[in-house]
């Protein structure tokens, strides 16, 4: 566990990998994003995705889980207020996802005494090393108790 004071721009962290299967893709989509290209391979073949693809929100949720499993481990948890999110490439059944987290900025918070601000770039990659998603959130990290 790292307090705010232990983070600095340029640090990099990595996660284990997570395997995505068709059942997980269609189950998530059935609950949150029931569009044909996320639910059915033959319907997906005639879509802009040209084959079954995970909902971007499923990719984002799996990315969150991978961040928690990484060596990033900020004190207080991974607590974000948001940031720029981009889906770069479809996530397919059989993909093995992993994340790379790079600290881009750290600064003290004017509004919060107990937390500092850590900005990170979170890149989600597949087994070919292709980027499937990027997310650049602003996080609050606990400061070291005095």
């Amino acid at each position: 566990m790292r307090y705010f004071e232990e983070f600095a721009a340029g640090q990099k962290f990595t996660s284990p990998s997570h395997s995505v299967d068709a059942a997980a893709i269609t189950r998530f989509a059935g609950e949150f994003d029931p569009q044909p290209f996320h639910l059915d391979d033959s319907a997906a073949r005639n879509s802009i995705f040209a084959g079954l693809a995970a909902s971007g929100w499923h990719t984002a949720a799996m990315t969150m889980r991978l961040c928690l499993a990484s060596d990033f481990q900020p004190a207080g948890g991974i607590i974000g207020v948001g940031g720029e999110l981009n889906w770069v490439k479809p996530v397919r059944p059989g993909d093995e996802l992993r994340v790379e987290i790079e600290v881009t900025e750290t600064r003290v918070s004017r509004s919060r005494l107990a937390q500092g601000i850590v900005k990170v770039q979170i890149t989600t990659l597949n087994q070919q090393g292709d980027t499937v998603q990027t997310f650049a959130p602003t996080l609050f990290v606990d400061r070291r108790p005095a």
Copy 2:
């Protein structure tokens, strides 16, 4: 269903509402964001959230579902490449969420002949009318066949 040509900046769309309960919050968090403040009310009381709160990714996923249930209905589906995502306020058990979608820009695509670009601002609100999340994605919408 609306083709690209039928969208214009300033148009607004709305969704029905969706009720969030504690079981759904902890189930989603258990799978994708297993941090104490998303899993357990007593642990959450001592956290930055001061009570059980939905994972931001759960709020985002519920927002997607609400967009699909809205009167927005772009031809080809709701297909985004990403955008700026912000969590403004925690989502709590008992909250009733709904979305408002406003078209902010439309333009033809240089790279795609069959789709146009529609930028929207998606605001997720609770039953008090407080904004809990904003998302400003760039979408691809099918053009009217010639």
